[in-house]
């Protein structure tokens, strides 16, 4: 039976998929350990995490390939734990595409419609429409082994989309493609999702992919959801050091809380201290250990002696790397290396030697513990 | 033979359907039955009528004419013959079918195969009127089985190889087979697998007046000369026909048949030999007792005996039936004092004794 908490306050309009206290064990290890989250309707939702974190297991529970040992899965206001996989309306796109080798492209794409006993005319219309939609209009009579990887992936997507599923599940669908094709298909998927206003649940270990595609991300680690929310929230306001590090380059500086007052905290790190805003759901106590989290692009860099607003930390450039759209500096401050990104490196001469690193306190995020 | 229950296309489909139905539910729907359409003209006032199923261990070549003659004598009886020239299998079939017997008559095969069935209560006792003409040693006292033919154990040799390799010397006694010149040239129907092989072994025991130690000593020495224990008696004959081996103790009547076919073989009967009594019995639970009894009674008539001699070269248990041309008469050969009951009762023990003696 659904636990009351799973259904209570479920706004079917806003929340499309809800996982409440879902657990899956394989033997003694919990692959997914008591996770809960809501996926908003019409969003591109991504489960992000390193391999073995439980993200694929979670996706497969949503699809119905695994039964959760505990917890509820609610789709569109309906608890689906007991619903057989083939009745869930959760079409899936697989990492290996899983195209049926004995059916043509058209055969693959029409398979689900044939199962649903869709009338012949409508079936043909929808298959053609979908094939055109994914740019495979001319390849309907090909066999899967006559297609490139990218084309096979499009067939896999078309095969799922043509059913107009309640929700589309994608299991690392781009990981078998080369980098350029990956980026291209990424945008195609995003455009597709926005045109269809369909809810996608996407699994990936690639944080670039996650950040660039998603409306909503849940980062998983060791069977737990570390944090979920909008990409920028995950990026700039991570709740744990693991998260901060996993979703991109970051400066994590250990410090000690010296004073908390009026939503502001003064944190001492090394010989220095900075006064930063306290995140809404974080409670800090004086004397507590924290980590200061600053993204490299949120820092400024100036020659020693320049006038700066905010705190300016004197340091020395250890090395730098030209990355095209930005210049990345590694600056040693009090024996610790900081990463600082400067946009538009072509606009000025690169800095070297003694520099000042500018820290704007409102761009510093505090992670407790 | 009156088997007209062929599977035509329609029956085939029914059969397929029935298999599906039975396979699907484990058996609950009546299957299509391919019952023989009785074409017997029942107009004549035959005294005996009925349908009997006969488990026959007789030779293939005997079955057709033998039962054909019976049908002529008893036109009211429909005979369905299940031919299987392996009495042991038929005996086992009758045992496994005891919950719902499918046979009415068990005919052919040495009485050793009938006797245990009688003891187990699977046979119907019947003392046929014609049994008065049969010597007591050829029939079971209470009529559980009746002996109607005899077979004598003799020796087959391949003419060509015998003259070249053994100077044409046929064994006058079984002891002659121990001669080293026979080494690797002799075969024997397996005492474990064939009635004939067992009778041969039991014969040796009777030859030494039931001194089992002496008999086993003989079997052990003989074993040194045996190249192969053949799983069927006829199979051994074929090997001699082909000249694969030179000689083999075997049934005289079967050897004669092989010789008549033109195979380069000959028969002789060594002294102190054994013999079998071929039996016929009625299976308990028969629904056509009168017809079954008619067959038993007919089998021991002179006519049936003459016909069987003609068809199979076997002898008859009736003294007024002449043996086949070239076949010895039971009274003309030197027979061992064969204690059939003892041989039957001690079969398991003796075969195990033999096995451990020769190490097989």
């Amino acid at each position: 039976m659904p636990s009351p908490s799973a259904l209570q306050s479920l706004d079917a309009g806003a929340v499309h998929l809800r996982l409440a206290h879902v657990t899956k064990r394989f033997g003694d290890t919990a692959a997914v350990d008591d996770i809960s989250f809501d996926v908003p309707r019409g969003s591109f939702a991504t489960l992000l995490g390193p391999s073995g974190c439980g993200k694929t297991t979670t996706l497969r529970m949503i699809a119905g390939f695994y039964d959760p040992d505990a917890g509820d899965i609610v789709l569109g206001g309906r608890r689906i734990n007991e619903l057989p996989a083939h009745r869930r309306g959760t079409a899936m796109v697989f990492q290996d595409y899983a195209l049926f080798p004995h059916m043509t492209v058209r055969g693959n794409v029409s398979y689900g419609l044939r199962l649903a006993k869709v009338a012949k005319d409508e079936l043909a219309r929808r298959v053609n429409e979908t094939l055109d939609f994914v740019g495979l209009g001319k390849l309907g009579d090909r066999w899967p082994n006559q297609l490139s990887g990218g084309q096979q992936q499009r067939v896999a997507v078309a095969r799922a989309l043509v059913l107009r599923p309640e929700i589309l599940l994608l299991d690392e669908p781009l990981s078998n493609l080369d980098a350029k094709l990956r980026v291209q298909l990424r945008w195609e998927l995003r455009t597709l999702q926005q045109q269809l206003k369909m809810t996608f649940v996407y699994v990936t270990h690639d944080q670039d992919e996650a950040l660039s595609l998603s409306d909503w991300i849940a980062v998983m680690n060791a069977g737990k959801v570390e944090q979920h929310g909008a990409p920028w929230e995950i990026y700039y306001r991570p709740k744990t050091a693991f998260l901060a590090d996993f979703v991109g380059a970051v400066n994590l500086v250990p410090g000690t809380v010296r004073e908390v007052r009026g939503g502001q905290a003064t944190v001492q790190f090394g010989e220095r201290s900075v006064t930063v805003p306290v995140p809404a759901d974080t409670s800090l106590r004086e004397g507590g250990e924290v980590k200061l989290c600053v993204r490299p692009e949120a820092l400024g860099l100036a020659p020693r002696g320049a006038t700066t607003d905010g705190a300016a930390l004197p340091g020395t450039v250890a090395r730098k790397a030209f990355l095209g759209d930005l210049m990345r500096y590694w600056v040693t401050i009090d024996g610790r290396e900081w990463i600082v990104d400067q946009p538009d490196p072509g606009a000025s001469t690169p800095l070297d030697g003694e520099v000042l690193v500018q820290v704007r306190p409102e761009r510093v995020h505090v992670i407790a513990g | 033979m009156g088997i007209d229950s062929r599977y035509d296309r329609r029956t085939f489909l029914k059969l397929a359907g029935a298999t599906a139905a039975v396979a699907a539910c484990g058996g609950a729907t009546p299957a299509a039955s391919a019952a023989p359409a009785s074409s017997a003209a029942a107009a004549t006032a035959a005294p005996v009528t009925g349908t009997i199923s006969v488990y026959s261990a007789l030779n293939e070549s005997t079955n057709n004419e033998f039962f054909g003659a019976f049908r002529k004598a008893y036109p009211g009886v429909t005979v369905n013959v299940l031919p299987l020239a392996a009495a042991g299998e038929l005996q086992t079939r009758i045992r496994t079918e005891k919950a719902s017997p499918k046979a009415d008559i068990f005919i052919g095969g040495s009485s050793e195969f009938h006797d245990p069935l009688g003891k187990e209560g699977l046979l119907e006792a019947y003392i046929a009127p014609n049994a008065k003409d049969i010597d007591a040693k050829f029939k079971e006292a209470t009529g559980l089985w009746t002996g109607w033919y005899t077979g004598i154990f003799g020796f087959i040799s391949n003419n060509d190889r015998l003259s070249k390799e053994l100077g044409g010397k046929k064994p006058a006694s079984w002891d002659d087979l121990l001669d080293a010149s026979w080494k690797g040239k002799l075969i024997l129907p397996s005492p474990l697998l064939t009635g004939g092989g067992y009778i041969f072994m039991a014969t040796q025991i009777f030859r030494f007046n039931k001194d089992e130690a002496k008999a086993m000593d003989y079997m052990k020495k003989l074993h040194a000369n045996i190249a192969q224990y053949v799983p069927t008696s006829p199979g051994a004959l074929a090997l001699i026909d082909q000249g694969q081996f030179v000689g083999c103790p075997n049934w005289v009547h079967d050897i004669l048949t092989e010789k008549t076919k033109g195979n380069p073989v000959d028969v002789n009967v060594p002294a102190d030999t054994g013999f079998e009594v071929g039996a016929v019995s009625i299976v308990k639970g028969t629904k056509s007792l009168a017809a079954a009894q008619a067959l038993v009674n007919w089998s021991i008539t002179k006519d049936a005996g003459d016909l069987n001699v003609k068809l199979s070269n076997r002898g008859s248990t009736r003294t007024d039936v002449a043996p086949a041309a070239g076949a010895p008469k039971l009274t003309d050969v030197k027979l061992v004092n064969y204690d059939r009951q003892w041989a039957t009762d001690n079969k398991d023990r003796l075969l195990k004794l033999w096995q451990s003696t020769v190490g097989l």
Partner: protein, 539 residues
Amino acid sequence: MRSLQREPGLLLALLAVIVLVCVFILYPQIRVIITPGTGYIDFLSGGTWIRSTSQSIQVMVLSTTTAVLLGFVFAYAMVYTDMPWKPFFRLIGILPLLSPPFVVAASYLILFGPRGLITYGIFGQTISVFGLGGIWGVQTIAFFPFAYQLIADVLSRSDARLEQAARNLGAGPWQVFRSVTLPLSRPGLGAAILTTAIYVLEDFGNPALIGGTFTVLPTQAYGLISGFGDLPGATAVSTLLLALALILYVAKIRLDGGRSFITVSGRASSMPRPPVPVVLTWACFVACLLLAVVILTVYGTLLVSALTLNFPNNLSFTTKHFEYITSDVNGTALQNTLIFGVVAAAFSAVFALVAGWLVERGSWPGRRVLDFLLIMPAAIPGLFFGIGYATAFNEAWLDWLDRGVLIIISMIFWNIPVGYQAAVAGLRQIDRTMDEAATSLGASSLRGFRDVLIPMLGGSISVGFVTTFVRAVTTLSVVIFLFTSGTTVATIRIFQLVNDLNWGRATAFTVADIGMAILALGGIALLSRGRIALGAARA
């Protein structure tokens, strides 16, 4: 398993399979196993089984090794090389399965006996095929087709990409074979070894005729029935055989436990296999040709016997043997054989596939038990399978049951193991995401099985159909306790003629039986548009 509760169709299918297996495999065997009762003690203390058991194991180890090796070479040649004459070799690959009892073994004796036409007639040697060496050789040729069929099916489904990858990593052809092809064919290899070993263990005909003084368990069991009428002792031997099979089965489970042999992932590939070196192709061709010569000589002898008056003593040409075998009861026997074989093979192949799928893809408790029960019939000598049926189903209340139907059912379940093994081995090579893809598109498990897996398992179905058919039309021992005068079959007639020493008629009947089987298989291959091929290998 909860998915069973959610899909009534699946639950129903599983229950049906369990009930059928219990009724038609387990129950008759239990009836056989309990037959001896205290007879087990007498039998085991008698000690006559020790020698035949050790000799059985000896024959099994030797013959299985060579038969699987030969089967592998044959399968490799058929699937990997582009050697010529493949359709011919495909026929050679099933011919030895078409060996009605006694006749083929007798043909070996005529050719290779002490006065054999080849050993003595051509080479002047009196080396005899009798004994261990002879059984070993004959069993190798008789049983390599099982290994060939199972291995070829698996090899033909292996992924060229893996082999290309290995070549790409610098592996030579031999290394590719050793490090990729061979390990990935392990499910087929395991199934082949288990099946061959069990069938060798169970075989009666060849050791009986060629064994000489070399007794194995089935010959002992047959002897106990045929010569002693000792049913308890014989069934004790049969139980011993089952115990040996159980040991083999457990060994196999431990051998390939838990590994992945997936070669068919969801990604399609049009990559060809790396070419096999020309030398290897021709070596394979020569090896197959030599084997073909031996097999054709043995079967050719049968044909010559069938067309001569009294082979080998009178070689005048005649057609009278063939005239005889089409007359009355004999024609019926041939017809029955064909019908029983086709019906049994069709049901057996389908049932094996469904059962294989339920066991391999399911995760319900007790599936190991079902797995063993489905392999067990291979270890039951046909004689005891028949006795089991005769005992279990010869009840008065079952008298309505047509004997033809009962014979067909016995053939279906006695021959389940090969098709079942092929189905399991095939499924183990297909990635589960294929099933899941179908499910996520709205197909129930059963539907996905039908639409996606079955078309991908064509070879396995073919293996099940062909082996069941071939064994059904050549088995004597299962039928011998079940047939009636109206349901007699070719092998019963052949047995009769052999015992009547009518070698010409017996061989004519054998030739007709084999010829009919080949024609039927050819016809079915045509009707199914190649989906059920003569033999498994799809080159």
